[in-house]
């Protein structure tokens, strides 16, 4: 018999995040409208309006204020939720860079969106990659269920005293933000057992007066170097606690066993496509089709980008002949002109005993659909490279209209 507690509902990725926010008993929320982030704020506002969530909700005057409101509410020990998209993220960037240096365990949702100009609502990952070096834990869910699960886990990992670094839950804009699928929702009690109430160790309160963010000098006390080092250690800890969080999550709800990867026909494959987010929606049917033709193709999805699963990735990718890496953003002027994921994977594999051939695909830019023909084009390229053993063009643009 099915467990009585399990409730399955149809939700979009943002509805799922809002559902997690509701169950996590968030105290303070601030929003500022920008598509596609707006939809999560709408959903959270509905929860409050219906009396399902008791939180102080702010309609900020801009993203800068939005993040400042939440940052300082978090400093009082409140559990907060906020986020943005694209150029809105850029507008709020000043507090965004401060949140990890203050070691605040906040969780932000980033509805990934290409930067203007030209104005667009389509997804790219550049808004997230502005923040990749700042000290955020970053994950890229693929389905509404994962959006829910990863939001819950983000609070658990970030709020760990050994971590105290913020998280960004990346929900691909226009794709996962809006597309609805079934989501299994545990009870609030179960969630709060998994993520206990936040007891911030350095809460700003008159009972324990402290000065936060005092000016330091580089030579005299040199605390800035030491603080950077502490944050680096916290990021190392984050990896351990991410794995623990997944283990506990899997034991409780039977999902999310692997913290870093999802394999699809990857076990015996010769060539694989490697990417994050929702691109697999168009890739998986092509894998099945090519498998019917006897071609050994597979697909691997990276679920978490920070902390980067360096050693695991090395182990994972070493056995393939050719790996194609899809980037949904352009990194202008980077080595080979390749994207951010490409650079990270190349760097990870540098000291591997054996390395696959790598090729980078710019795919799905500006939200252009990575449809089966696009996926097919990428697999054909990979199979050709596997056969010839030569990468003539390390970076290719997919779906480009000429």
């Amino acid at each position: 018999m099915r467990e009585a507690k399990k409730i399955t509902r149809i939700m979009s990725g943002t509805d799922a995040v809002a559902e997690a926010v509701k169950l996590l008993d968030i105290d303070v929320i601030a929003g500022y409208p920008i598509r596609p982030y707006t939809v999560v704020q709408n959903a959270v506002a509905n929860h409050i309006a219906n009396g399902e969530l008791d939180a102080d909700f702010f309609w900020a005057d801009c993203e800068h204020s939005q993040f400042e409101i939440c940052k300082h509410a978090a400093l009082t020990g409140a559990r907060v939720f906020t986020g943005s998209s694209g150029v809105g993220w850029a507008q709020g960037f000043e507090p965004i860079v401060i949140i990890p240096t203050l070691r605040l365990p906040m969780v932000l949702m980033l509805g990934n969106r290409a930067f203007d100009d030209p104005g667009t609502f389509g997804v790219e990952w550049n808004d997230a990659f502005t923040s990749r070096d700042l000290g955020y834990l970053m994950c890229w869910p693929e389905s509404p269920q994962e959006a829910f699960d990863f939001t819950i886990m983000a609070y658990k990992i970030s709020e760990n005293k050994e971590v105290y670094l913020p998280s960004i839950v990346n929900i691909e804009g226009g794709v996962l933000t809006h597309v609805a699928r079934p989501v299994e929702v545990p009870s609030k009690d179960e969630i709060l057992e998994y993520v206990p109430p936040l007891e911030l160790a350095f809460r700003m309160h008159p009972d324990k007066p402290m000065t936060y963010g005092a000016q330091v000098d580089s030579e005299g006390l040199m605390v800035l170097c030491e603080m950077r080092r502490q944050a680096a250690e916290a990021m190392e800890n984050a990896k351990k606690f991410t794995e623990e969080a997944h283990k506990e999550f899997y034991q409780k709800w039977g999902r999310q066993e692997d913290p870093y990867f999802e394999d699809y026909y990857a076990g015996d494959a010769e060539v694989v496509l490697f990417t994050m987010g929702t691109m697999g929606w168009g890739i998986r049917p092509v894998v099945r089709e090519l498998r019917k033709e006897g071609k050994k193709v597979g697909y691997i999805r990276l679920k978490r980008f920070r902390p980067f699963p360096d050693e695991e990735l090395k182990e994972k990718l070493a056995k393939y002949k050719t790996v194609g890496i899809c980037d949904r953003e352009v990194s202008l002027g980077a080595p080979k002109g390749g994207g951010v994921i490409f650079q990270e994977v190349r760097s990870s594999l540098y000291d591997a005993p054996s390395r696959p051939l790598l090729v980078n695909f710019y795919a799905g830019l500006g939200g252009r659909e990575v449809d089966p023909p696009a996926a097919k084009e990428m697999y054909e390229t990979l199979l050709k490279i596997a056969k010839t053993g030569k990468v003539e063009e390390p970076v290719r643009w997919i779906g480009l209209r000429r």
């Binding site: 008791d54 939005q66 008159p206 005092a214």
Partner: protein, 320 residues
């Protein structure tokens, strides 16, 4: 209506306890530092402060030598009001939900004229509309970006020399008028208490802090704070200059409480502004005509505006 607040009748009645002590690195005669001390003293130990980047952060709040005996957090240059609002919200939500002991905690957001009057203006305007939250926003005005080395802000007076408006062979090029920040804040009818004050009148300043905090909701205080370094005068003249700013009518002293305006210091006869200007090196380029221009502007503000120094609408235009 405002709650009762404990009024300080004279400086000898002020609390002996200091919440802002040694450890800062401000110059002698620094009136912003005096304002910090008086604000913290008046607010007392159950207070938290969020301070924007500015001279009262960089010169004032250093690692290991913080002068703050009460909790103090840095916030970004344009964020004093949004940070104060967020702090107040954090306490309010947690106290309502039983996560924190219920008590009154004073929340004060402080910025300079640059952080508050330029960059933080939209955050201030937005925060002041949240009437359910109790916090006090303070702008201390030393009429320049002093932390970065005395640059023009929108509250720098006409004709003042700064490093962005230096003296030279040409006629001075800072020809912007000082922004009417009080008029802007006074337009926010959601604010039950706003006042001007100066480090030169400490008892008045402390009482205004207490009154603002006891009034509740978002409240606002403007504090005029001379800066010996930026204004180029001898530090022994700090108090004199602060008072002259009031006595010449250059900076008016008033409070607006629930829509009622009250002048807390009204000079019977305004001293000539020349006395104020001539003590300061930053005005050394001004000619007699320039000083007359400033004098006329002050007279106009006091005599022609429907609410002196606040609402720039001529009295007679209303009667028409």
């Amino acid at each position: 209506m405002a709650e009762e607040y404990e009024r300080i009748r004279s400086i000898v009645e002020a609390p002996l306890e200091e919440e802002y002590v040694s450890g800062h690195r401000t110059s002698r005669g620094c009136m912003p530092a005096l304002a910090m001390r008086l604000i913290a003293k008046a607010a007392g130990p159950r207070t938290v402060i969020v301070g924007a980047t500015g001279c009262m952060y960089v010169a004032n709040t250093s690692y290991y030598t913080t002068p703050w005996a009460i909790p103090w957090a840095h916030t970004q240059l344009g964020a004093f009001a949004s940070a104060a609002l967020g702090t107040a919200a954090g306490y309010r939500a947690q106290m309502r939900k039983g996560k924190l002991k219920k008590e009154k905690i004073n929340v004060i957001g402080i910025a300079g004229d640059g952080g508050g009057g330029d960059m933080g203006l939209n955050a201030l305007s937005g925060a002041l509309t949240y009437t359910e939250y109790n916090f006090l926003c303070v702008i201390y005005d030393n009429e320049s970006y002093a932390n970065t080395g005395i640059q023009v802000s929108s509250l720098t007076p006409w004709g003042a020399l700064t490093t962005f408006s230096p003296g030279g062979k040409e006629r001075f090029f800072h020809r912007r008028e000082k922004k009417n920040i009080m008029g802007i804040v006074a337009a926010h009818h959601t604010v039950k208490y706003i006042a001007t004050a100066t480090s030169g009148l400490p008892v008045d300043l402390m009482n205004k802090v207490r009154k603002a905090l006891s009034t509740g909701g978002p409240t606002f205080l403007y504090v005029h704070t001379p800066c010996p370094k930026g204004w180029e005068y001898h530090h022994k003249d700090s108090r004199k200059i602060a008072r002259l700013a009031v006595e010449t009518g250059f900076i008016p002293m008033y409070e607006i409480e629930n829509g009622e305006l009250k002048f807390t210091y009204r000079p019977k006869k305004r001293k000539p502004v020349k006395e104020y200007l001539k003590l300061q090196g930053r005005f050394c380029q001004l000619t007699e005509e320039d000083m007359d221009r400033i004098q006329k502007d002050i007279d106009r503000r006091w005599e022609e505006w429907i609410i002196p120094h606040t609402v720039p609408i001529k009295k007679e235009s209303i009667l028409r």
